[in-house]
């Protein structure tokens, strides 16, 4: 595997240029920059509706220096499939790889059907879902990726509610169940790991899927300087395990020498702050800790024991 190192100056490809309208400290903007850094120039990118499309392409400007197309909210996977099939038909498959970069709403809720179709047909596409755990672009409405206990505008915490109730969809397992050859989870907090996984996914023949956890300082309500630190805490507490699944086998799990309690992650963000104030909050935190413990058990996250 290639080792990525930023040397600055001319070695940075800078394919996602400055001047985009993402909030200060946006995790997604960092992720997209790193994805393109790893992918290189010979890619065609498809993005559905979402923050990424809004901040990067106010006509007549664009922040992209690679071919990029905006699809509808639901059909990034279908548009990417069409591009890949078109390249194949024209005998130009070797010229570019197709990449779809979509948010959690466009992947896990609205575009789930087209994504399933793309997996089934076996197109040679790398699909990356950047998961900031709600519909941030329209004002922090909950999605099926919003974690339990988080307050969103459509699952607000209050006197009778502790926020989101349902667990996150296990997107990686959904992809694995389709027989996708390369599936990985990544975090924007581990930039070099993310770039390595993107390179692997692109080099893999057939569909590949990366589920990428990115913090959103606006929706998660934390200072803009903490984006990377908090994304990293999700990994260190066991709430966001990093692993790869190659041909159905779990490989390359990021193990933790000392797993942190989930409070360390929850207390950094405004969307969980009610858990530390409201009655019964400890019980919800205990349930969230149980999710982390189950992850640790399933993936063998703990180094000792």
């Amino acid at each position: 595997m290639g080792v990525y190192r930023f040397e600055g100056g001319d070695t940075v490809k800078n394919l996602f240029v400055s001047g985009h309208r993402a909030c200060a400290g946006c995790g997604m903007a960092i992720a997209v920059k790193l994805i393109l850094e790893a992918a290189g120039e010979d890619v065609i990118v498809v993005s559905p509706t979402g923050c990424l499309e809004i901040v990067s392409s106010p006509y007549p400007e664009t922040s992209w220096r690679v071919p990029w197309i905006h699809s509808l909210f639901e059909n990034a996977a279908s548009v990417a499939s069409g591009i890949e099939a078109g390249l194949k038909a024209l005998g130009r498959k070797h010229e570019a790889k197709v990449l779809a970069i979509a948010g959690d709403g466009a992947t896990a809720d609205i575009g789930m059907g087209p994504l399933s179709g793309m997996f089934e047909r076996g197109h040679d596409i790398t699909y990356i879902c950047y998961d900031n755990e709600a519909y941030m672009n329209t004002g922090v409405q909950r999605s099926s990726m919003t974690p339990p206990g988080a307050s969103a505008t459509t699952s607000p915490a209050g006197k009778v509610s502790f926020g989101e109730i349902h667990p996150k969809k296990d997107l990686a397992s959904i992809a694995v169940a389709h027989g996708v050859g390369y599936v990985a989870t990544a975090s924007v907090g581990y930039g070099l790991d993310l770039m390595r996984k993107v390179r692997r996914a692109i080099d893999h023949d057939g569909p590949s899927f990366i589920h990428l956890h990115t913090s959103c300082c606006t929706g998660w309500r934390h200072p803009s300087s903490k984006t990377i630190e908090i994304s990293r805490l999700a990994v260190l507490t066991g709430l966001w395990p990093l692993y790869e699944v190659v041909d159905g086998e779990i490989t390359d799990v990021k193990r933790l020498p000392k797993r942190l309690p989930v409070e360390d992650y929850l207390k950094t963000q405004g969307r969980f702050s009610h858990l530390f104030r409201m009655e019964g909050g400890e019980e919800i935190i205990r349930r969230i800790q149980a999710i982390a413990d189950a992850n640790a058990e399933r993936f063998g996250l703990d180094l000792e024991g």
Partner: protein, 86 residues
């Protein structure tokens, strides 16, 4: 505004949008503490941290939105934020 066929835009044109005006704090660097880990370049959302052999790490204040990630991720604690007055 006249739309081109397919609403095509020329690559990298958002560079005309100088986002530096969004900033309330700006990053500064103490070069003697910089260990050249390049975390600041890696994690800058706006590609506003640059490096050259001669100048070391420097900031493109035309685009820096002042988020403070570079200072937070700095391994050598060389980067710090100061309130900016305009």
């Amino acid at each position: 505004m006249k739309l081109r066929i397919g609403a095509i835009a020329d690559p990298g044109t958002s560079i005309v949008n100088r986002t530096g005006g969004w900033r309330s704090e700006k990053p500064l660097i103490d070069h003697s503490l910089c260990i050249r880990c390049f975390n600041c370049i890696l994690y800058c959302p706006d590609s506003a941290v640059k490096y050259s052999e001669k100048e070391g790490i420097y900031f493109d204040y035309d685009f820096c939105k002042g988020c403070g990630i570079c200072a937070n991720e700095c391994s050598g604690r060389a980067i710090y934020m100061v309130m900016e007055e305009k």
